[in-house]
Amino acid sequence: MSTLPDRSALAVGDVVAESSFGLTRDNLVRYAGASGDFNPIHYRDDVAASVGLPGVLAHGMLTMGFAVQPVVEWLGGDSGKILDYQVRFTRPVVVDPETGAVVSVTAKVGALDDAGARIDLTVSYNGQTVLGKAQAVIALPA
């Protein structure tokens, strides 16, 4: 069912996927339940304020989780082709109770070798990147 990208047509710097994700508080509650991370800074404004945060934050691991989905889609849905995935959490994503937050993802080819490709992700919210060194290594033999 899945169709992998044509390896021979890829070049370093190519944008292979772009997407944006609208997050609401509902997404945070759902992720808390699915992951087991019930830190209240991800759903309670009073707790977030009491520790000096600008508002309720998305779980960093939620952002890491959806940021790779455009790459999975580009792989024809085969998430099993991802061999390595890393991020650095550099800025928080504040999710407004009414308007939520929009996070955009751009996926570019960062490196190529015989075994596959390294895809570099630029993940932004409010015009600033929220993840650093966000890289997925995928199996895509030449």
């Binding site: 069912m1 899945s2 994700f21 997404n27 759902r30 992720y31 339940g33 699915a34 992951s35 087991g36 991370d37 520790v51 960093g60 691991m61 939620l62 890491m64 989780g65 959806f66 790779v68 989905q69 999975v72 889609e73 849905g77 085969d78 998430s79 099993g80 991802i82 061999l83 390595d84 995935y85 890393q86 991020v87 650095r88 959490f89 060194k133 997925a136």
Partner: protein, 149 residues
């Protein structure tokens, strides 16, 4: 209270087996906004050559969590959870996780560093299947903010 530098190199007991459930994988997949049929539909996963639904790339955090709880719960480590911020995260796979896998995790503290009044603790959790074969290593760096910040 500050982080005990002597925990560098320390390993913790292997966790109890975690049985990866199909509905858990589907729930987690929806939570990370996956639309991939192999994450959600067992038939699609089988058609793609997998035994059952495939867990999304960040799913191992669910298993790794049990190892990080050991670290945060170790009084000798001296990590104040209320001062912990997640610095970075990595997953390095030998093979993807599929529903039906029974996984255990063993964590080692690979590094403890001081940086500008904060401590950076890196913990590596090796996740293996019921046969003992490596599946994925989950690596986290936790930033523990110092008293003055």
């Amino acid at each position: 209270m500050s982080v005990n530098p002597e925990i560098q190199g320390r390993s913790y007991p292997t966790t109890e087996p975690y049985l990866v459930g199909r509905e858990k994988v589907r729930e987690f997949s929806r939570a990370v906004l996956s639309t991939s049929p192999i994450n959600l539909d067992p038939e699609a996963a089988r058609a793609a050559g997998y035994a059952d639904v495939v867990a999304p790339p960040t799913f191992p955090v669910v298993v790794q969590e049990h190892t990080l709880a050991q670290l945060l719960g170790d009084p000798d480590a001296g990590i104040d959870f209320s001062r912990v911020v997640h610095g970075d995260q990595r997953f390095s796979y030998t093979r993807p996780i599929v529903a039906g896998d029974e996984l255990t995790a063993t964590m080692t503290v690979t590094s403890v560093k001081s940086l500008g009044g904060n401590s950076m603790v890196t913990a590596s959790s090796e996740i293996v299947d019921a046969s003992g074969a490596h599946v994925v290593t989950a690596i986290s760096t936790l930033v523990v903010r110092g008293d003055e910040s």
